[in-house]
C-alpha cells in the first residue's frame, strides 16, 4: 500500500535534514504507528505522506504511484485527523461536517449517523466553540472518515483525552481497521500504540532505528521471567522465576500452593523502556 525508500527532507531555509533517509512499507489494512519524541520527524513524515510537502528526495509510493505526482484526487482516498482538532468555531458540528463533506465526491453518508456513532448526536447543533477537547477530538475523527478513505492518518489521536474518551477513540480506530482501512498513527503515547498498532516504527532525529510489532518487541527485549508477589505471615514477599520450565519449578509450585498470591506478572519489556534502550532518548 505505502512504500517509502531513502526519504530525506529539509525545510526551506534550513541546512539540517529533518528526515535522513528513512525506509518503511505499510501493508493494506495495517495499523502502523510512528513513535518518537517531539521534533523527531513524525509529523514531517506524515505531511509528506499526505502530499503537503512535495520537495523531498527519495521515493514515496502509494499503491505504486509516486506521491509527488498525485493530483487532488489523492485526497479522495485519504482521511487526515491532525493533532489539533480545529473547526469553524461559529458553525455547529453538523454544519462543519457538511461543509467538509461537500468537498469530497465520494461522501454520501448522513453526517448525523457518524455523529451518533461517536456519541455526538445530541451536540450536532451546538457551535464547535462550545465543545470540550474530547468532543472536538471525536468530531475531528468523524471529519477524517466522512468519505470512507482507504488510508487514515491520525496525529496523536488520544492526546488530551480522559480515559473514557481515549477508550472510545481507540475503539473507533479498531473499527476502521476491521473495515479494511490502512491506519497510520503518529504518537508519543506508547500505551495507545501498544493497544492499536500491528507494527510500530521508532523515529528519532529523522531516522528509523527499529520497526516491529509491539508484541515481538516486548518479548524480544524483555526478560524471560515472571514476578510473583505473595503474602506469608502477613508480610508481602516478591520472588522472580525463569519462565523456562516454570511448570516444573518446585519453589514456584510450592509458593503458589501454600501462599495467597497478590500478583503474578511476566517481565516483558515496556515499549517506553525499549525505546530508551534502542534510541537512548525518552519520548517526552
Amino acid at each position: 500500500m505505502i512504500d517509502v525508500e531513502q526519504l530525506e527532507y529539509s525545510y526551506p531555509g534550513t541546512s539540517k535534514k529533518t528526515l535522513q533517509g528513512i525506509d518503511f512499507s505499510i501493508a493494506r489494512g495495517e495499523v502502523f504507528g510512528f513513535l518518537g519524541p517531539s521534533g523527531a520527524g513524525k509529523s514531517t513524515t506524515q505531511k509528506i505522506l499526505i502530499g503537503a510537502l512535495r520537495n523531498y528526495t527519495g521515493s514515496v509510493r502509494i499503491q505504486g504511484q509516486e506521491i509527488r505526482h498525485l493530483g487532488s484526487d489523492y485526497y479522495e482516498r485519504i482521511g487526515v485527523a491532525f493533532e489539533f482538532p480545529n473547526f469553524y468555531s461559529k458553525f455547529t458540528a453538523l454544519e462543519n461536517l457538511k461543509l467538509f463533506q461537500s468537498l469530497y465526491r465520494a461522501s454520501k453518508d448522513d453526517p448525523m449517523d457518524l455523529l451518533g456513532k461517536v456519541g455526538l448526536d445530541q451536540a450536532a447543533h451546538m457551535k464547535v466553540s462550545q465543545f470540550s477537547k474530547g468532543m472536538k477530538m471525536r468530531l475531528n475523527f468523524c471529519r477524517s472518515i466522512l468519505h470512507h478513505p482507504d488510508i487514515l492518518f491520525l496525529d496523536e489521536p488520544t492526546s488530551g483525552l480522559d480515559p473514557l474518551n481515549a477508550k472510545i477513540m481507540k475503539d473507533l480506530i479498531l473499527e476502521q481497521k476491521a473495515a479494511g482501512t490502512t491506519v497510520l498513527i503518529t504518537t508519543h503515547n506508547m500505551h495507545a500504540a501498544e493497544e492499536l498498532c500491528d507494527r510500530v516504527a521508532f523515529i528519532v532525529d529523522g531516522q528509523i532505528p527499529l520497526i516491529d510489532s509491539p508484541r515481538a518487541l516486548k518479548l524480544h527485549h524483555g526478560q524471560q521471567r515472571v514476578r510473583l508477589e505473595y503474602t506469608s505471615s502477613e508480610e508481602k514477599h516478591i520472588e522472580e522465576f525463569p519462565t523456562h520450565n516454570l511448570g516444573n519449578n518446585e519453589r514456584f509450585l510450592q509458593l503458589i500452593r501454600q501462599h495467597p498470591i497478590e500478583t503474578l506478572h511476566s517481565l516483558e519489556a515496556t515499549l517506553d523502556q525499549i525505546f530508551i534502550d534502542v534510541t537512548g532518548r525518552t519520548l517526552v
Partner: protein, 237 residues
Amino acid sequence: MRWGNALAHDIRFQWRHGFYGVYILICLLYLLLLHFVPADNQASIVVLLTFSDPSAVGLILAGGIILLEKDQGIHHHLFATPLRLQEYLIAKALSISVLSASAAWVIHGFSIGVPASPILFTLSILLSSSFFTFLSIGVVSRARSINGFILLSQVYVLPFALPLLYFFGIGREILYLIFPTHGSLLLLQSALRPLSWREIVYALAILIVWNGIAFLWAQRSFERRILLRIGERRDRR
C-alpha cells in the same frame, strides 16, 4: 462543483461573522451622506464611492476572513481535502465581489439611479473587487496580526490609488494607464459620459491582466507563507 460549495460556505461564513450586517450599515451611512451632497456633485461622489468601496471591501474582508481562518487553525484541515488552492481563492474573490457589486448597485441606485451602462458598471466592480481580494490575500499571507495586516496593506494599496489624481485632473492619462484602477475609474465613469470601444477594451483588459497577476501572487504567497508553514515550528523544534 467543489468551488461552488466553497463559495456557498464563504458566503455563510461572512454572514455568520456579521460582515454583511456591518456592510449594510456602511451602505446606509453612504446613502445618508450622499443625501447631503449638492445635486451637481452627486454623480462624481458616487463614482468615487463606488470606486473606493470595492477596494475597501476586497481588501478588508479578504484580510479579515483569512486572519479569522488562520486564528481558527482551519487551513491545514481544509487543504487535506480535495479542495485546491485555486478553487479556494476563486471562491473568496467571487463571494466578496458579489457583495461589493450588490452594495455598489444599492448606493448607485438609491442616489443617482440605475447606472447608464449596467454591464460595464457591474464588471468594473466585480473585477476591481476581485483584484483587491487577491492583493489582500497576498498581503495577509505576510502579516501575523490584524495590526500588521492593516499597516502592510496600506503600503501595497497606495500605488493603486494614484489614478485618482487623474480623476481630479492631475497629470497626463498615459502616466496612469498601467494601473488596473485607472480601468476601474474609466468604466465607472460610463455613468457620467459615454465610453469609446477603445476605452472599454483597454479598461477590461487591464483589469483582467492585473487580476491574473494578483491571483498568481496570492496563490504563491498563500502556498509559501501559510500552507508550507503549517506546523513548521513544531516539526523543526
